[in-house]
C-alpha cells in the first residue's frame, strides 16, 4: 500500500513539533526515517498510526484520503506501529497477547489463534512459546510477538520505532531478514532510527527530519557525511570557550555498571572537577540519562563506586546526595521538575523555606518577586507554574537550584527554548561554573555542547566513550560518533 503524508503540521501548545513535513512511502519498500531526538520522527509516525491527530495536512493511502481517530482505526486501515518500548501485557501469556485486539465474536478462538501463531512464527523463523508469560521474554522476542500480532491483523504498512535498541545481534539479523521479506511481499515498511549503519544497510530510501522540518530525502548509495549534515545542520562559527582554572575533583565515577531492562552501561570511568562543564552527547535512550540518575543517587548502580568530593556515596539514598550538594534537574519540566497546581511563591518556599513551621506569606511573596526579577521569569508570584511558557518553566527550574551546589546534573536544559532563552540559561550555568560548581549536561544540541563544554562524553547503544576534549572534536566527528560510527 502506498502511503502519502502531505504538509503535516503539529504543535503541542507553544512547541512546534512538525512544520510542513511531507513523506511518501511506496509499497514494497523499506523507508528509513532518520533524525535527532526532537526532530519529530516519533510524532510523525504517531500521526500516521492514528495515535495523534495532525493540526494541518492530510494522509493518503493508495490515493484515498483518510482521517484516523484512534490507533484502532489506523490498524483497521492496515497501519500498525511497533513502539520503542513494547506495548504489551507482561502478565499475560504469549498467546493472549497475540490475540489481543483481534476482532472476532464473543467466544475466544484459542485453537485458531494458536495455529495462526505457529504458522506465522515458523514462516519467519521465530521461536515463541505460546504459553510462556510475556514478562519472561527478552525485548527482542517481545518485538517478534508484536510483529506477528500486527501481521495477523493484516497490516500493510508497518512502522518500527527504533527497533534495534536492546535486542541481540542474531535477533537483529533475523529482524532485518523479516523486514526484507515483508517488503518483498508488498508491504510498506517505515524504519525509524538514529543509527546510520542500519539505515544504510536496510533502507531503499531515507528521509531526514531536523527540528520538525523535512531536511532532505536521499537514495542509495548513501554518503554518511551527507546524512550527518542533513541530521545536524552546518556548523556555526563558535565564540572562544572560556578557560576556567579547574579545581578539586568533585565527582569520581569508577568502574560503574548500571542499567535497566533495556540498556546496560559498563565500566564507566569519569572524573569531573570543580568549575568543569562536561557534556553528555548521544541519542535519547543511549544511556546518558542512566548515568546522570546514577550520579544523582536516583538509581542504584550494580557495580562500581561513586564518590562526591571524596566521600563514597555509592548505594546511599537520594537525600544523602542532596546533602552532599548534588543537584539534579530533570528534562520533564512538568512531570518531574515542577509541581503543577502550585504557584511560583509556593515552589520557592518549598526549596528555600523562610522558617520552620509557619509561613509568612507576605515575606514569601516578596522573596518570590525578588527571584522572579533575578531570573527574568515572565510570571507573577501567584502564577501557577503550569501557566508559564516552557522557557520560563526552565528559568524557574534554574531558580530552584539550591546554592551552593557542588555538582549540577542537568538534562536538556535548553530543550524547546528559543535562542535568547538558551543563551541566558548558558550564561547562568557558566556563572555557576565560575563559582566552582561542576556541571554535567545532557543535550541533543551538538553545537551547544561543542560551544560550552570542556569535555564531552559520547553515548551510543550502551557504549560510553572516554571524555573527549571539546577542542579536539569537530561537529562532524561528534555527529558520526552519536550515530554509531568512528568509535
Amino acid at each position: 500500500m502506498k502511503v502519502e503524508m502531505r504538509h503535516i503540521y503539529k504543535s503541542f501548545g507553544p512547541v512546534r513539533a512538525l512544520q510542513d513535513v511531507s513523506l511518501t512511502v511506496q509499497a514494497g519498500t523499506i523507508h528509513g526515517l532518520l533524525g535527532e531526538n526532537g526532530a519529530g520522527k516519533t510524532t510523525l509516525m504517531k500521526i500516521l498510526s492514528g495515535y495523534l491527530r495532525p493540526d494541518r495536512g492530510e494522509i493518503l493511502l493508495d490515493g484515498q484520503a483518510v482521517r484516523f481517530r484512534s490507533p484502532a482505526e489506523g490498524l483497521r486501515h492496515g497501519i500498525g506501529m511497533l513502539h520503542q518500548d513494547p506495548m504489551d501485557f507482561p502478565a499475560l501469556s504469549v498467546l493472549d497477547n497475540f490475540m489481543m485486539g483481534h476482532e472476532g465474536g464473543l467466544w475466544l478462538d484459542r485453537r485458531g489463534a494458536r495455529r495462526a501463531l505457529k504458522e506465522l512464527a515458523d514462516a519467519f523463523g521465530f521461536d515463541l512459546d505460546p504459553d510462556a508469560r510475556v514478562d519472561s521474554l527478552t525485548v527482542g522476542e517481545r518485538q517478534q510477538l508484536e510483529l506477528l500480532r500486527l501481521l495477523w491483523r493484516g497490516v500493510r504498512v508497518l512502522i518500527l520505532d527504533e527497533p534495534t535498541t536492546g535486542i541481540s545481534a542474531p535477533q537483529k539479523a533475523r529482524l532485518f531478514a523479516t523486514l526484507r521479506r515483508l517488503a518483498e511481499e508488498g508491504k510498506a515498511v517505515i524504519f525509524v532510527t538514529h543509527k546510520l549503519e542500519e539505515a544504510e544497510e536496510l533502507c531503499h530510501r531515507v528521509t531526514v527530519l531536523r527540528q520538525g522540518r523535512l531536511a532532505g530525502e536521499v537514495t542509495p548509495p548513501y554518503s554518511p557525511a551527507r546524512l550527518i549534515e542533513l541530521m545536524f545542520g552546518r556548523p556555526v562559527p563558535m565564540p572562544e570557550r572560556e578557560r576556567i582554572p579547574l579545581g578539586e575533583p568533585v565527582l569520581e565515577v569508577q568502574d560503574l555498571v548500571v542499567g535497566d531492562h533495556r540498556l546496560r552501561l559498563s565500566q564507566v570511568r569519569l572524573t569531573v572537577r570543580a568549575g568543569e562543564i562536561i557534556g553528555l552527547a548521544g541519542m535519547e535512550g543511549s544511556g546518558q540519562q542512566l548515568l546522570m540518575r546514577a550520579c544523582a543517587g536516583l538509581i542504584r548502580p550494580w557495580e562500581g563506586t561513586i564518590r562526591v568530593s571524596g566521600r563514597d556515596l555509592t548505594g546511599k539514598p537520594y537525600s544523602a546526595f542532596l546533602e552532599a550538594g548534588v543537584l539534579y534537574v530533570p528534562a520533564n519540566r512538568l512531570e518531574e521538575g515542577l509541581i503543577p497546581g502550585l504557584t511560583l511563591t509556593e515552589h520557592f518556599q518549598l526549596v528555600y523555606p523562610n522558617g520552620r513551621h509557619l509561613i509568612d506569606w507576605e515575606q514569601a511573596r516578596a522573596e518570590a518577586q525578588r527571584r522572579i526579577r533575578e531570573f527574568h521569569i515572565r510570571g507573577r508570584p501567584e502564577t501557577p507554574v503550569e501557566a508559564l511558557s516552557g522557557g520560563n518553566q526552565q528559568r524557574t527550574l534554574l531558580a530552584l537550584i539550591r546554592t551552593p551546589a557542588r555538582l549540577l546534573l542537568l538534562e536538556h536544559p535548553t530543550r524547546g527554548l528559543d535562542v535568547e532563552s538558551s543563551l541566558w540559561v548558558w550564561e547562568r550555568l557558566k556563572e555557576r561554573a565560575r563559582q566552582g560548581t561542576a556541571l554535567m549536561v545532557v543535550s541533543s544540541d551538538l553545537q551547544e555542547l561543542m560551544q560550552y563544554c570542556h569535555r564531552i562524553v559520547v553515548f551510543f547503544s550502551g557504549r560510553v566513550s572516554e571524555p573527549i576534549d571539546a577542542e579536539q572534536l569537530t561537529l562532524d566527528r561528534l555527529g558520526h560518533m552519536i550515530a554509531g560510527r568512528g568509535w
Partner: protein, 361 residues
C-alpha cells in the same frame, strides 16, 4: 510526547457556582425519581426530613452531635487527601480509637483516679489507637507496596472483626454477649452533656479545634505546603528534596488520630459503651463530605452540617412514611456522584473549547 491539555480558560466564579447548582439539581431529581419508583410522596418525604432535623431543639442539637465526629473525620481526611492519599481505612481508624478508649476506661474505672483524668487519658488513647491503625496502612504502603485503598479496606474488615470479638468475648456483658454492646460506663465517666440534650460542649469544642487546626496547617505551615506538593506531584516533590515518605506517614497518623478521637467521642459522649456499629459509617461519610467540599476546609464545615442534618432528619422516616431511613444515604451518595460527574463533564467541555480555539497555531 504526551498530549497535555493545559487549562487556560479562567472560569468565572458564577460559572463555577452554576455547575455546582446543576449537580445539586440533578441529585434532587435522581432522589425524587427513586422515591417515585418506591411509591412514596417525594415532597412529603422532603418535608419530613426537614422537620425531623429542625423540628425541635433536641433534634437540632442532635445534628451537632452527628456533626462532631463527622467533622473530626473530615478534617483528618483533608490532610490525607491533600497528600494525595485515598485513606479508605478511616472507618477502621475510628473503630480502633473507640476500642482503645473503651479499654482505658474499663481498666481505670475502678481506680481512684479523678474522672476528668481518666477521660483525658481515654481520649488520648483513642487518638493513639486511630493513629496506630493508620500507621499500619502506611507501613503496608511503603514496605509492602500495597495501595492504601486495599490496605485500608482490609484493615477495616479486621477492625470490624476485632470489635465484634471484644464485644462478644472478653468485654461481654456479664451473662450473655449481645449486639447492644459492652457494659455501659458509670455515669461519672460519661463525657458531660448539656442538660436534657445529648450534645457535649467538650466534643463540640474538640471538633471546632480540629477544623481550625487543619485549616491553619494546610494554609499557613510548611507542613501543609509539603503535603500539598506531595499530593500534586510526588515525583517532583521527591526530587526537590521533600521527605516524601515521612510526610505521607505524618498525614496518615494525623488523620488516624482525628478519626480515633471521633471514635472516642462516640464511646464517651454518645453511646457510653462500645457497640458494634460505633463508627456509624462516619468514615465513609467523611470521604463523601471531603469530596463534595472539593477538599476545602471552609466548604467542608457546611457540607458536613448538611449531611448530618440529612442523617438526623431521616431517622423518623421509617415510622411516618414507611421509608427506610437510608434515604439520606441515597441523597448523599447521589449528590457526590453528580458533583463528580459534572466536574468531569465540565473539564471535558472546557478542554474541548481550549483545543478548538488553538487550532491552526
Amino acid at each position: 510526547m504526551k498530549e497535555i491539555l493545559l487549562p487556560r480558560v479562567r472560569t468565572s466564579r458564577w460559572l463555577a457556582v452554576g455547575w455546582q447548582g446543576l449537580s445539586i439539581l440533578m441529585a434532587l431529581l435522581f432522589t425524587t425519581l427513586v422515591l417515585l419508583l418506591t411509591g412514596a410522596p417525594p415532597l412529603e418525604a422532603y418535608r419530613q426530613v426537614v422537620e425531623g432535623a429542625f423540628g425541635s431543639l433536641k433534634r437540632a442539637t442532635d445534628i451537632l452531635v452527628a456533626w462532631v465526629p463527622l467533622m473530626l473525620v473530615t478534617s483528618g481526611l483533608l490532610l490525607t487527601f491533600t497528600a494525595g492519599l485515598w485513606n479508605i481505612g478511616v472507618e477502621g481508624q475510628i473503630v480502633l480509637g473507640a476500642i482503645a478508649t473503651t479499654g482505658v476506661v474499663r481498666a481505670l474505672q475502678h481506680t481512684d483516679l479523678p474522672p476528668p483524668i481518666i477521660l483525658v487519658l481515654a481520649l488520648l488513647a483513642g487518638m493513639a489507637g486511630g493513629a496506630a491503625w493508620a500507621g499500619l496502612v502506611g507501613l503496608l504502603k511503603v514496605y509492602g507496596g500495597v495501595h492504601e485503598i486495599f490496605g485500608g479496606l482490609g484493615l477495616n474488615f479486621v477492625a470490624t472483626t476485632l470489635i465484634l470479638w471484644l464485644i462478644f468475648g472478653p468485654w461481654k456483658r456479664p451473662g450473655i454477649g449481645s449486639m447492644s454492646g459492652t457494659e455501659p460506663f458509670p455515669e461519672r465517666l460519661m463525657l458531660p452533656t448539656l442538660p436534657g440534650l445529648r450534645l457535649s460542649p467538650w466534643a463540640l469544642g474538640m471538633a471546632l479545634l480540629s477544623v481550625a487546626l487543619v485549616y491553619v496547617l494546610l494554609r499557613n505551615t510548611y507542613f501543609g505546603l509539603r503535603l500539598k506538593a506531595i499530593g500534586k506531584n510526588l515525583r517532583a516533590a521527591h526530587l526537590l528534596g521533600v521527605p516524601t515518605t515521612r510526610y505521607l506517614f505524618l498525614a496518615l497518623l494525623g488523620c488516624g488520630a482525628m478519626a480515633g478521637l471521633a471514635g472516642s467521642i462516640q464511646v464517651t459522649a454518645v453511646y457510653h459503651r462500645l457497640i458494634p456499629p460505633i463508627s456509624s459509617g462516619y468514615g465513609y461519610l467523611g470521604l463523601l463530605v471531603a469530596m463534595l467540599a472539593n477538599y476545602r476546609v471552609t466548604w467542608s464545615v457546611p457540607v458536613a452540617f448538611f449531611f448530618a442534618a440529612l442523617n438526623i432528619g431521616s431517622i423518623q422516616l421509617p415510622i411516618t412514611l414507611k421509608l427506610d431511613s437510608t434515604l439520606s444515604g441515597v441523597m448523599q451518595g447521589a449528590l457526590v456522584l453528580f458533583v463528580l460527574l459534572m466536574q468531569g463533564v465540565r473539564a471535558r467541555w472546557q478542554a474541548k473549547t481550549t483545543v478548538e480555539s488553538e487550532d491552526g497555531a
